[in-house]
């Protein structure tokens, strides 16, 4: 911006002169000093302070700036002296000039003394006149005269008339003086249409004075001030209030200012109109005289009108006039006759055109019309580029590029200023909707064409002219820098051509330090790019755009010989470029960097860069450096230190394509793993002359690196692919001999280093890195690189070289090919579990575990056994192993160290109780190899076990043991009623606690049937009934007790049975609930047995217990029990008794008994034929006895006895005799458990009472 007069660029605003605010003369130096440090005297005088504050406030209103888009009514305020004079308006023309009768401004081209005379367009001085010398509003600050206040001595004193009069006269006199001064100023301002406003400062007391109004009116009249906004009175107030005052003063006067500039505009427009009409006649009066041409006048007037509009803040009007002025200016430039190139006026006009362009752009930007602004700017540049060609300063001249750079730069500066305040840089991301609608509107574009305006709009929304897309100023700075670079190029060409003197501006151009300018522009651009770079980018440190600019800066540093600076930049830039693998950009960077390093004499850096460049290969141009350059450099220089120079290429492009392939993914400890390391030289770079002395191949930590040394071979092998055998590498040998081979790569050739490696411990083996050593002269350079690197464009094809002639590969299709896993050999342990399924319940079931070490190492074996919980009911199982007993897990049963070939047997016992079903055992056999104790001491053993995980392995076995019961038992239970004589109620024995009252319960007959189930035979040692008599039940006797036929011990084959019957007396107490309760069986069978294996072996003795079933005696109501002897002798009388019992708990019974003799009866009966038994109370019993004499032999039926319980049956219509009471023959009294309905059927009683033909028939065997 400095290249243009500031007057032509600044934003114009109405000008206000402020007079009478000069600092007091006593302090001539104070105006600049801030009012914050006023001296004590100033503080005393409020008016001095007021003046200072006012001045401050006015000055802070507005700073002249180029970008001021906000439309506030602010003035450009200039403090002036009270006696300021305006520049002369018009000069009388010299009398001898006949053509110019009218008076002209001293700046007019028509005035000979004017700098524009005779054909200038407009000069910055004209604007300066309007911004600095002539205001639109003149504000004059004056002090209203005040007499010191007169204090009457007493309120009672009469007004001092004399004094009053005197005061009035004095005031009048002072006011008249003041009015005269104002009138003087008023005259000078109204001449020019300038608004004059007077501000009278007065004390606060004065404001309340009733005489003030009169005085003010007097002053206004006297001085001829306007009635409106022309006279203010201000008393000393606070700063805030002062600012308000200044603000409102501007508001009040803004209209006047606008009027002022409007008047000017009107005047200029009149002149322009008159001029354009008169132009034809006016031209040829003096053809030889140089005059401003009509186009020039148009430019002049339009420009003035534009300026006045700008003063008024009318942006659109100003824009139009500026554009008109510019258009006419372009017409003028179009003809060399009007504006001959390289004249003073031409140069002025160019400056004017450029600055109008800036103004137009700026005004467009005020309205956010970015496209229009940029379009105007680019059009300007294009037009003037075209003109420049005509003027002989086309693209081949430095002047052209200087001008172009200036245009870009000024736009950048304008945008930079704008963005600091109101301007926003738009994003050019297309709105997604725009694309969508675009697709829709395309087919109907024909219809749109008719609506022309809409078409334009839609065009706007459909796309963007990229050259009209506003970007941040960094871009334009960049452009300026690029143009300046071109300017420098042209200039340098000119110097080479030595046609220096001819070129205009050459002398000036020689003074220009182009590189500094370029650097400055790039730096500005860089900063702006940095500022506008996205913050949320992952690349937090630096954007690529900024790196690009940085690269340009580095280049410029290089060009200007500041190599150290350039190198610093290159280092930083290269980092990102390397990382993102943009070799194409890195290549030129490295060359320039190398050039810098050469210039700086940094040999190490040069070597590094040359080596890195080897990786990048050659470019099309011959700017790059190859291996020869490196060799040359190494030969000619020596390093600064003796330490080897390490050139780490891990970040940058590698020299070789390197790859490691292992043949198999996994090997065992001690087994050799074959690998191939292939190094392929690039085909586009010749590295055969590199002085490679050795190649160190580094493996996983524990391996010593393997060195391959170079030996010169006389006959260079022709083959492109060569194989180098490295032999075997293992962790054990640390002094591996170096391999020797010819390490010279021809372009594109490939070395395949093959070898095997093995490890004594399990690990992951790989080739970690490869270090190339170059030695030449005194240089020792190490180039480490990764064992797997690919040059750009190379493809990782994993293959195994299997034949050299012809070259054949075997593809390795594995995910992981560059490492190999070393694992321990599995332990050769043979484990067998032998047992004889199924297991029996209650048996210690032996499972023999046989572990045989088939390995050649000592193995320590530890076994864990887990008995899995079962969901079988009542199953309580446990295992016994090695004196440990557990219902779950037995851990760590040691088998000790098993030497090779030895087997160890251990027996695990499984004990199952409860129910049959499968039992599951998990057996884990853990083995660990024992280090050979003979070779290493105990210390080293512990070290070894710590240093790497010991060689352990584990095998798991799951064993399912089916379990069956050896003997099943089934019970058959019947109940008999008690027949014993009932003790009477008064029998004292009843009350004995030992008294066994089985009246209610009777007896239970339990027959148990035991069956051996197999599949193995059992050797039953004994079987007995163990009694657990309690107060409800006791075992009376058992068949097994009387067993003397030596049935035990005996061998029982599967399916064999034996049984036992026992009698149990029951004595449920009175509360016994027959419905729900049961009496636990008062004993259990204990059977001791052992299994007999088919081979005759016996297991250990086992004992099974079978508890007696729980007993549930049935309940009775009214019952008749008949007892007769089972047999009788003919004609020998026998007695038959019938016991009628009322066992009902609450009801008494009225029972009738009727003997129903039959003719066919085999008995002669004596006794009751029919009768009623006395009423039986609950628990009562009555016995009836008959005598019978059998008269027939054989099974004879006893006479039928009918027992009735006489109860009135309410249900029947016929009154029945009552319920029949069951007559039970006690000999056959056998009832089932009460709830066991199905069993009841089988009981004899049920059969007899079930309605069968033999029902109720009791027989006696009568023998003769």
């Amino acid at each position: 911006m400095n290249s243009y007069p500031p007057e032509l660029l600044t934003q114009l605003a109405p000008v206000m002169f402020v007079a009478g605010l000069d600092p007091p003369p006593a302090f001539p130096g104070t105006p600049q000093s801030p009012p914050a440090t006023p001296t004590s005297q100033q503080q005393q005088d409020p008016f001095t302070l007021l003046t200072l504050r006012l001045r401050e406030s006015f000055l802070s209103q507005r700073k002249p700036s180029i970008w001021a888009a906000e439309k506030s009514k602010t003035f450009q305020i200039i403090p002036v002296d009270k006696a300021v004079r305006f520049p002369p308006r018009k000069l009388q023309p010299p009398a001898d000039d006949p053509t110019n009768s009218a008076a002209h401004s001293p700046l007019s081209p028509l005035t000979p003394s004017s700098p524009l005379f005779p054909d200038g367009l407009i000069a910055p001085i004209w604007i300066r006149k309007h911004t600095n010398l002539v205001p639109s509003v003149f504000v004059l600050f004056l002090r209203l005269f005040e007499l010191p206040p007169h204090m009457p001595r007493s309120p009672l004193d009469p007004p001092d008339v004399e004094r009053e009069k005197e005061r009035e006269q004095e005031e009048r006199r002072r006011d008249t003086e003041l009015s005269a001064e104002v009138a003087q100023r008023k005259k000078s301002t109204s001449e020019r249409g300038i608004k004059l406003t007077v501000v009278l400062t007065a004390s606060r007391r004065m404001l309340d004075d009733p005489s003030l109004d009169a005085r003010l009116t007097y002053i206004r009249r006297q001085s001829g001030l306007d009635s409106r906004a022309a006279l203010f009175v201000l008393s000393p107030v606070s700063v805030a209030e002062l600012n308000d005052f200044v603000r409102s003063l501007q508001d009040a006067l803004y209209e006047s200012a606008v009027d002022y500039y409007t008047t000017h505009s009107k005047r200029v427009r009149r002149k322009r109109n008159r001029h354009s009409q008169a132009s034809v006649s006016y031209n040829p009066a003096n053809p030889n005289a140089i005059r401003l041409r009509p186009e020039g006048w148009t430019v002049r007037y339009e420009y003035k009108m534009a300026c006045f509009a700008e003063f008024r803040g009318e942006v659109e009007v100003a824009l139009k006039h500026y554009q008109d002025a510019y258009a006419t200016l372009v017409i003028m430039f179009g003809s060399t006759a009007i504006l001959p190139p390289r004249t003073k006026r031409w140069a002025e006009a160019k400056v004017l055109a450029d600055s109008i362009n800036v103004k137009v752009c700026k005004l467009y930007l005020y309205n956010n019309e970015h496209g229009l602004a940029l379009s105007y700017h680019t059009t300007h540049m294009r037009k003037f580029s075209d003109f420049s060609r005509g003027w002989g300063i086309g693209e081949e001249t430095f002047e052209f590029w200087s001008w172009m750079a200036r245009q870009h730069r000024i736009l950048a500066e304008l945008l930079e200023q704008g963005t600091r305040s109101t301007l926003k840089i738009p994003s050019h991301r297309p709105p997604p909707a725009a694309l969508a609608t675009a697709n829709i509107t395309t087919p109907i574009s024909g219809a749109q064409a008719q609506r022309g305006v809409f078409e334009l709009d839609s065009m706007q929304s459909l796309g963007l002219n990229p050259s009209h897309a506003l970007q941040h100023p960094g871009f334009y700075y960049y452009m300026a820098a690029r143009c300046t670079e071109k300017r420098r190029e042209r200039f340098l060409l000119l110097i080479e051509a030595d046609g220096s003197t001819l070129a205009p501006g050459y002398v000036n151009e020689k003074k220009v330090d182009h590189l500094t300018i370029i650097l400055e522009l790039y730096t500005k651009s860089y900063e702006l790019f940095k500022k506008y770079s996205p913050i949320n980018s992952q690349n937090l440190n630096q954007g690529r755009l900024t790196l690009w600019i940085a690269y340009r800066i580095a280049q410029t540093y290089y060009d200007s010989g500041k190599f150290d600076m350039a190198v610093r930049f290159f280092e930083r830039i290269a980092k990102t470029y390397r990382r993102e693998k943009w070799g194409s950009m890195l290549r030129p960077l490295l060359s320039t960097w190398y050039a810098c390093a050469q210039q700086l004499g940094a040999v190490e850096l040069s070597v590094k860069l040359l080596i890195e460049m080897l990786g990048h290969g050659t470019m099309d141009n011959n700017e790059t450096y190859g291996a020869e350059d490196l060799v040359k450099l190494l030969k000619s220089t020596s390093p600064s230190t003796d330490a080897p120079l390490i050139v780490d290429l891990s970040e940058s492009e590698p020299i070789f394509d390197s790859m490691v392939v292992f043949w198999s993914p996994e090997v065992k400890v001690g087994e050799a793993a074959a690998f191939q390391l292939s190094l392929t030289a690039p085909s586009n770079v010749d590295i055969s002359c590199l002085p490679i002395t050795s190649l160190a191949i580094h493996f996983t930590e524990d391996f010593a690196p393997l060195i391959v040394r170079h030996v010169d071979s006389n006959s260079v092998p022709e083959a492109l692919t060569r194989r180098v055998d490295l032999g075997h590498v293992s962790t054990a040998d640390h002094k591996k001999e170096d391999v020797q081979t010819d390490l010279r790569w021809k372009p594109g050739s490939k070395f395949v280093f093959t070898g095997t490696m093995s490890s004594d411990v399990p690990m992951v083996m790989n080739v970690s890195k490869v270090v190339l050593t170059l030695e030449e002269h005194s240089w020792n350079i190490e180039v480490p690189f990764d064992s797997f690197t690919l040059r750009a464009g190379s493809i990782p094809i994993v293959k195994w070289l299997c034949s050299l002639d012809p070259v054949q590969y075997f593809p390795i299709a594995r995910e992981i090919y560059s490492t190999v896993n070393v694992r321990h050999r599995p332990h050769q342990l043979l484990v067998s579990l032998s047992h004889h399924a199924p297991a029996f319940l209650d048996e210690e079931y032996p499972i023999v575990m046989d572990i045989t070490n088939a390995d050649d190492r000592d193995v320590a074996v530890v076994v864990d056994v887990l008995l899995q919980p079962t969901d079988i009911d009542h199953a309580v199982n446990h295992i016994v192993f090695d004196d440990e007993r557990s219902s779950g897990l037995i851990k760590g049963v040691s088998f000790g160290v098993v030497p090779p070939g030895v087997n160890v047997l251990k027996t695990l016992y499984l004990v199952n109780t409860g129910a049959a079903g499968d039992r599951i055992l998990d057996i884990s056999i853990q083995s660990r190899t024992m280090p050979k104790s003979s070779s290493s001491g105990p210390a080293s053993v512990s070290r070894d076990s710590q240093s790497y995980p010991s060689d352990t392995s584990e095998t798991l076995q799951t064993l399912t043991v089916p379990t069956v019961t050896p003997i099943t038992i089934s019970y058959d239970v019947g109940y008999r009623r008690a027949l014993a004589e009932r003790p009477g109620p008064a029998d004292l024995a009843l009350y004995d606690s030992e008294f066994w009252d089985d009246r209610e319960g009777g007896e239970a007959l339990v027959s148990a049937r035991m069956e051996t189930m197999g599949p193995y035979s059992l050797d039953v040692k004994s079987a007995k009934l163990i009694r657990h008599d309690d107060k409800y039940a006791r075992v009376l006797d058992s068949a097994i007790d009387h067993d003397d036929d030596a049935s035990f011990p005996a061998e029982y084959l599967p399916g064999d049975e034996f049984s036992d019957i026992c009698r149990i007396s029951l004595a449920p107490d009175e509360e016994y609930d027959y419905a729900s309760e049961s009496i636990p069986g008062p004993g259990e069978y204990e059977i001791t047995w052992r299994r007999i294996l088919p081979n005759g072996e016996h297991f250990a003795l086992s004992t099974s217990h079978f508890p007696l079933p729980s007993l549930r005696p049935p309940s009775d109501g009214l019952i008749a029990l008949m007892s007769v002897p089972p047999a009788a002798t003919l004609h020998v009388p026998i007695s038959m008794s019938l016991k009628i019992r009322n066992l009902h708990p609450s009801r008494s019974a009225n029972v009738t008994v009727q003997l129903e003799p039959d003719l066919s009866d085999a008995f002669v009966v004596s006794g009751l034929r029919s009768g009623r038994v006395p009423i039986l109370l609950p628990g009562g019993e009555e016995e009836l006895i008959w005598r019978l004499i059998p008269v027939e032999c054989g099974y004879a039926k006893v006479p039928k006895i009918k027992v009735m319980d006489r109860r009135t049956m309410s249900t029947g219509e016929i009154e029945s005799e009552g319920e029949v009471v069951k007559v039970v023959d006690v000999r056959w009294d056998r009832r089932a458990a009460r709830d066991d309905v199905t069993d009841a059927r089988r009981s004899i009683e049920s059969l007899s009472g079930g309605g069968g033909p033999a029902a109720g028939v009791t027989t006696i065997l009568v023998l003769p």
Binding site: S375, T378, T379, R382, H428, R429, P430, P432, A434, L435, A438, N439, T442, S445, G446, A449, M459, Q460, L462, G463, L464, N465, P466, S467, A469, Q471, F475, Y478, M479, R482, S533, P534, N536, S537, Q538, N539, G543, R544, L545, L547, W548, Y551, E580, K581, W582, S584, M585, P588, A792, G793, I795, P796, I797, V798, P811, I812, A813, R814, E815, Y817
Partner: protein, 163 residues
Amino acid sequence: MMPNPLRLNAVAFISPQNHPILIRTFSKQDELKYHYIAHTSLDVIEERANSSTKSTECYLGLLYAIEDVAVYGYMTPLKVKIVLALGLSDTVVRDVEIATVFKALHMAFYSSISNPFLKLDAPNAGNDQYPFLLVGGVKWKNFRRRVDEISRVVGTVTPVSNT
């Protein structure tokens, strides 16, 4: 009004890892410049791709204009970036046209990458990037041919005629 045919100066394909796949320049001079342009465009592409609310739109619009080229960006759903450098002419460039060109380029890339024989060269490259980098390599000519063809067509015919 007939819009001027677009002048393609360069096309760049950049892998999701920001490595160049193919940079094809159609003006003989200043090939390197387009490498820089492609690289720097990544900044703007990343900014646009990150800042925008989840948009499925691939076309990213004008990235920037510099010197004599206007740079447009496009990002495929699999994050392959396509950068187009147009010769700067003082006309409105319609987004539809550019988006069409981009789609054609995307399809060209897509059909080239779908070549099953590409896998032959990198049979066990687990990394998906390799086929991307391969397809731009010298060995596989089809991709270049497709891109060149698009450039030729764009340069001669106006893709969308406008009354």
